[in-house]
Amino acid sequence: MSATTSGILPFAVKDCALIALATGRCAQNLRELRDALEAVQPSSLYHHFWGGLLRPRFDEPEFNNDFAAWARHALHDWVLAERLAVIDPTEFQELEGLRRELVEVIEERLDERELIPWSKPDQQFHFLDSLIVVFDTHRRVEHPRELVEALAGMTRSSVFYHFIDARRRRPDGIDDFRGWLREQGDGYPELCEQLATMDPFFSSLAETRQRLLELIEDHFGGPRL
């Protein structure tokens, strides 16, 4: 059984609030989308892949990123929508790599099609960005077992910060939970492996919180009495 090594900092539960900003850049056809993709800030790509988790959205999203949804609903290009939807941003260490992949997929589609697909004027793709404000909840977790209780009291945005946003923030590209567990004793390799298999794309943040909670609870042998 792993034990907390003295000297390891407790897990600081943080929370965040996110607000969207318009970049003023939009696209009405696929070529414009490609051109804008090459020019926008990396944080805009981040917003369109991950920011949706904190935006008004339906719990059964059809696509996991805004580009795929636009290709389907505004350009009516199913093939492109499917190709864009399969892009997994967690596979890219840097957002620049993600940008190159998006552009590559779009250019391939432009080569295939005889006509450039257009959207209606009121269905243009608007590139957005976001402002994230992070604050400390002053709650601290001393032992990994206590993560269960901490997770139960976390807001959706706190789950977003530690499980989603961490991947961009941390040099090792992993979530905060694994990052902290790895610092403990033997590093909880099994639990970390299980957490790494979680796909946060098609889950709401509430579902992600519940799944995290269950995995950690199971690891420590069920709920505490």
Partner: protein, 413 residues
């Protein structure tokens, strides 16, 4: 009556309220002023009526000021409103002079408050010129546009842009409404207050009673549109849709319930058009309700089988969210903020014509299980995304943001 934020924990969740308190803690004592042109009537006043007390409860020093003007001022600002929504309107030099003078006079009355504020939110075009009248301002000024300006009549936008460009930031309800401006443009969609008279749960007899009050048959299908009598809300199109749907549902009843905002001089003319379109049909009830008839509107929404918001242009359309919160599927115009609220085929339907609305009315009224399923989804969607607490979070986030406009990540100490 002011309701404490703690009461909202019962609806939105304890964690949401705690989140708000933590986000607001560093803003304690910050002087925030909201300015608009009416204290009653319309969605803006309704939102401010709640946001301002909540900001105070969270420790900010918030106030709400209104500007006043004469009939020509409101005539001009109505033209602004229509022009920003894309209608061709004329702005005569005489009316523009009234506009500028009215703003100057109001600025004089509010000068001390505005000058000393840390953040000033100026809502919509009516008070937009206040900024240039307060050159000694100390805080950040934010122009909050509640109107659909996705395709404005250019001369109107050209005039207004000159003035709003000088703000430190602006806020639009949807990305489609954002314009080319030389400052950050935040996106905040409106919200509803689940504990207001308009949205609280009502006793069954009160809901049933509203049908009796307005002479509606309790055993027949009822469809409803609640909105001002404004051409952009297409009330005549709703009557057309009702008539088409009635061919297969002859027992159908329609209520068009509207109130007049004090800054809307065009309402009477549109109301007359609606009355003519309804003609002698006794199953169409046109209700002109006072601005404070919130409970009646609540009961009407709960009493209806489904709700329409067949706008052809819409900033956001709070009535859509209100109806969804009551578990009603909404058939809405495929425009503006309605698209953000109605998840097509899940929480209602988006339509582009009276014929489309009629088709969906017929479908839902003949598939009751689907109607109920959509209603449940609609309510859950509003709970997660469109309650007042989310709105407040975004305003607080914005206040943090305007203090550090260069950063897209702010770590509070």
């Amino acid at each position: 009556m002011t309701i404490s934020l703690d009461r909202y924990a019962e609806v939105a969740g304890e964690d949401v309220i705690e989140h708000l308190r933590q986000l607001a803690a560093p803003l304690r004592g910050r002087r925030v002023v909201h300015v608009n042109s009416t204290r009653k009537g319309g969605g803006v006043a309704e939102i401010l009526d709640k946001l301002v007390p909540f900001m105070n409860e969270l420790g900010l020093d918030a106030s709400w000021e209104i500007i006043s003007g004469d009939e020509s001022f409101y005539e001009l600002t109505k033209r602004f409103h229509n022009g920003l929504q894309g209608n061709m309107v004329e702005l005569s030099p005489a009316l523009l002079q009234v506009y500028e003078e009215t703003n100057a006079r109001n600025a004089e009355a509010l000068r001390d408050t505005l000058q000393e504020a840390d953040v000033v939110f100026v809502h919509d075009p009516q008070p937009a010129l206040l900024l240039r009248q307060v050159p000694e301002r100390q805080g950040k000024w934010v122009w909050r546009c509640h109107i659909d300006v996705s395709r404005p009549f250019r001369p109107v936008w050209k005039y207004l842009r000159e003035h709003v460009s000088a703000y430190d930031a602006s806020v639009f309800s949807l990305a489609d409404f954002a314009q080319r401006l030389p400052h950050p443009q935040y996106l905040i969609s409106p919200s509803i207050d689940p504990l207001s008279e308009k949205n609280i749960p009502l006793p069954a007899d009160e809901v049933a009673g509203v049908r009796e009050q307005f002479g509606l048959d309790p055993d027949r299908e009822l469809i409803l549109q609640v909105s001002r009598f404004d051409r952009f809300k297409d009330p005549v199109g709703v009557i057309h849709a009702y008539r088409l749907a009635r061919r297969s549902i002859p027992t159908l009843q329609l209520v068009l319930a509207g109130g007049e905002a004090t800054d809307d001089p065009e309402g009477a003319a549109v109301l007359e058009e609606v009355r003519q379109a309804a003609a002698e049909d006794r199953d169409i009830k046109i209700l002109l309700l006072p601005a404070d008839a919130h409970r009646t509107i609540n009961a009407l929404q709960r009493s209806a089988d489904l709700v329409l918001q067949k706008s052809v242009r819409e900033g956001f359309g709070l009535t859509v969210t209100e109806a969804m919160w009551k578990g009603k599927p909404v058939i809405g115009g495929n425009t503006g903020g309605i698209r953000l609220q109605i998840v097509n085929h899940h929480t209602g339907f988006l339509v582009d014509s009276p014929e489309g609305a009629a088709l969906r009315i017929r479908y839902l009224l003949s598939h009751r299980h689907k109607l109920e399923e959509m209603g449940e989804k609609a309510q859950a969607f509003v709970h997660d995304n469109f309650l007042l607490t989310r709105h407040l979070v975004e305003y607080l986030t914005l206040i943090h943001g305007v203090a550090s406009p260069e950063d897209n990540r702010i770590e509070l100490g």
